[in-house]
């Protein structure tokens, strides 16, 4: 192994995913909070941004996160039929489906963007999602935009 590839391999091993999580104020943020106060164990690789609705997560927010090097983005909202604003989450899921198609065209693994319905009482689901998603992102590897 050349020194260069050895260094590169070392850097890869040192790499830890950086994940951005958008949580809707009414359900998922409370769910994340519950996971926290219940002291459920989660990987420390994510940052949470609270938005008033999952539909408040503009496409631009997600694109900017990836453009700035986020390795994964999770958008979490209320279950279908539970949206505080009646239909925000329906718009979110259409948008995320389309956005994943767009990200794929840009060459990204669309698994880097995930949508999950998490209610206020689902601390465990939040924990499970974060464990799983962190694993997924570890598997996919670093955001390739950082090497451009």
């Amino acid at each position: 192994m050349s020194t260069q590839t050895a260094v590169a391999a070392q850097e890869q091993d040192a790499w830890e995913p950086r994940i951005l999580v958008f949580c809707c104020n009414w359900c998922s943020y409370a769910g994340a909070d519950l996971a926290g106060v219940s002291r459920l164990q989660m990987p420390p690789n994510f940052l949470v941004i609270r938005t008033m609705c999952s539909a408040r997560v503009d496409v631009e927010f997600v694109l900017e996160a990836f453009a700035k090097g986020a390795d994964g983005v999770l958008v979490a909202g209320c279950h279908p039929a539970d949206c505080h604003y009646i239909g925000g989450n329906y718009r979110t899921r259409r948008r995320i489906a389309l956005l994943r198609m767009l990200l794929e065209q840009y060459g990204f693994d669309p698994e880097r963007l995930r949508l999950e319905w998490i209610s206020a009482s689902e601390g465990e689901k939040f924990q499970k999602t974060m464990v799983e998603f962190t694993e997924t992102i570890k598997d996919i590897g670093p955001n390739p935009i950082k090497e451009e």
Binding site: Q12, D58, Y90, R91, R94, R95, Q105, F108, I140
Partner: protein, 337 residues
């Protein structure tokens, strides 16, 4: 020496349509000749680059630069003309936002070379010879411009004074700009503020005369999939993807007036971060939401959105190089242990 103003026009990575648009200003072009000396315009007058190199700095009053920056020659001429010009205008969508050539950012220079010189069915190149940037022949040294991986805009390389979007800019906007320059030169009237976009601050929907019903869509159609297009009704209301809500007005609603959807050549308004992203949000939001929605599975939603065949090509037809994500990436998936 004549006291006329000096104009230059140059084409970088472009299709030539912008040059034709300038010729299209009809008899006004004669007025331009009265008002201005054309010092450099490869498509129309025979001046060489070395003549431009010999000019004093700031000698040219205004350069109308069309085309994106795609290779080292485009970059060199852009920098040269900037140095020799008082006013630099990004002329046309390619110069402003990368335009259609900017869609090349979906691929890489080496892939393009490989396709063109090795994989094209009609190509016979057993030794896999690719063009070189330099070649030392016994008769002398030969050079070719270097093709870049990423298509960029004029502003990525030099300071730009005015942006004139459009593919190509419309005659009205060109005339408006020439009037302003003429008034400035003859009467000392102030020029538009530096950095101005020679278009409107509103969106195209504001300028478009079609009736808006704000219908909720069940699916989208390509214009040819409909038997008839209602000439009065908003195209989005008819299920045709029209970039009007995300696009800057100023063209006079040229395409929508003839029942063709806007493809976004005037680029985003100054309020938008990302042209394609804002259109994607708008489109996803106008799909119908009703009681049956709870019953739709995630797969059905994906299926529904797959009616939009090519989101990147549709939403970023003219603006990929100025989007938040400016070019395609290559994933190196780690091995699944």
């Amino acid at each position: 020496m004549s006291d006329k103003i000096k104009i230059a026009q140059y084409w970088a990575a472009s299709c030539g349509g912008c040059d034709v648009a300038l010729l299209d200003i009809d008899e006004r072009i004669l007025g331009v000749a009265e008002l201005a000396d054309i010092v450099f315009w490869p498509i129309a007058v025979d001046t060489k680059l070395k003549d431009v190199e010999a000019l004093p700095d700031g000698y040219i009053t205004a350069t109308l630069f069309n085309g994106a920056i795609r290779n080292s020659e485009n970059e060199y001429v852009a920098k040269l003309l900037r140095q020799k010009s008082k006013i630099m205008v990004a002329f046309g969508s390619c110069a402003c936002f990368g335009g259609i050539p900017g869609l090349a950012n979906i691929t890489y220079a080496d892939d393009i070379m490989d396709y063109v010189y090795n994989k094209t069915p009609s190509m016979d190149n057993p030794e896999g010879i690719l063009p070189l940037v330099e070649y030392h022949a016994p008769e002398g040294d030969l050079e070719l411009p270097e093709m870049y991986d990423t298509v960029k805009t004029l502003e990525d390389f030099v300071e730009v004074d005015y942006f004139m979007p459009g593919c190509p800019p419309t005659v009205d906007r060109i005339n408006e700009f020439l009037d302003a320059v003429e008034k400035h030169v003859k009467e000392g009237a102030p020029l538009p503020p530096k950095g101005a976009v020679i278009a409107s601050e509103k969106t195209l929907c504001d300028e478009c005369g079609r009736k808006k019903e704000y219908r909720k869509l069940e699916r989208v159609y390509l214009p040819h999939e409909l038997d008839e297009i209602d000439p009065e009704l908003c195209l989005l209301d008819q299920g045709i993807i029209c970039m009007g809500p995300a696009t800057r007005a100023g063209c006079g609603a040229k395409c929508v007036n003839v029942s063709q959807p806007c493809r976004g050549c005037f680029g985003p308004t100054s309020a938008a971060l990302d042209h394609g992203g804002s259109m994607l949000s708008a489109l996803a939001s106008i799909f119908k939401v009703d009681e049956s929605e709870t019953k739709l599975s995630e797969e059905q939603i994906v299926e529904l959105m797959s009616h939009i065949k090519d989101p990147l090509g549709t939403f970023y037809e003219y603006t990929m190089p100025v989007g938040l994500i400016k070019r395609a990436v290559r994933e190196k998936r780690r091995s699944k242990a």
